[in-house]
Symmetry: C2
Subunit: 134 residues, 2 copies
């Protein structure tokens, strides 16, 4: 059971075009694709860098989780996601150590990825996501 790499850094943004002016045009990352993710009420822009990605996450509804987060904290880095090779074993290990998990069982994305979130209260204020690729 191991953590393999940083899969992505999720950045909460209010305006995707304005954000791309910085991340794509000024910094020079390559925009790979933009996807709407209706179940999370967000648009996501994917910008690969090395073995990871920067993901710009723009809420599409005012009562979505990310919109509320921006209202409270302001736009900025929202979460860090690690790829793991065995997400169920990882969640079990963390639960056994008393870590507060948002998802005790992994959720399955449309693309077959398994993912789960750890509560920031157990991770020093950091929202941690775990991914297991199919």
């Amino acid at each position: 059971m191991a953590i393999k790499r940083i899969d992505h850094i999720g950045i909460a943004v209010e305006d995707l075009d304005k954000s791309l002016t910085f991340w794509e045009h000024a910094l020079g990352l390559r925009l790979h694709t933009v996807k709407n993710v209706p179940e999370q009420q967000v648009d996501v822009a994917f910008l690969p860098v090395g073995e990871s990605e920067v993901e710009l996450v723009r809420p599409t509804a005012e009562d979505s989780g990310v919109a509320k987060w921006i209202q409270k904290k302001g736009a900025g880095i929202h979460h860090i996601c690690f790829e793991v090779d065995d997400i169920r074993a990882m969640l079990a290990q963390m639960a056994a150590q008393g870590v507060w998990l948002i998802d005790k069982e992994p959720r399955a994305g449309a693309d077959g990825k398994l993912y789960a979130f750890v509560h920031p209260k157990s991770a020093g204020g950091v929202l941690v996501e775990l991914y297991q690729l199919p």
Copy 2:
């Protein structure tokens, strides 16, 4: 001129031992080393993951930049650092596009690394650091 990878994610923490309980013991990252960086008034714990690192940054003085950041925003993800192959060219490109740079010229670390920070106001609330390895 290119961005090569995420070098590290800097996480502001109040208590290093308590933080390592999560990042090292529960999540299973490997603690590589802990360094005191007197010029920034911080202790830094380095935990490699893939081609990147998680860096836990604990202020050692109440009036340090990171201590003030924690007082204002709470502990959590503090900055994202990218390795670039030509930091001077990157800074010039960003300045030409009106990006607000904290460091218009790179600073040199004790280990010969060149580094510079972009102001969060120009990066959608994200503190971005650039590194050029020697």
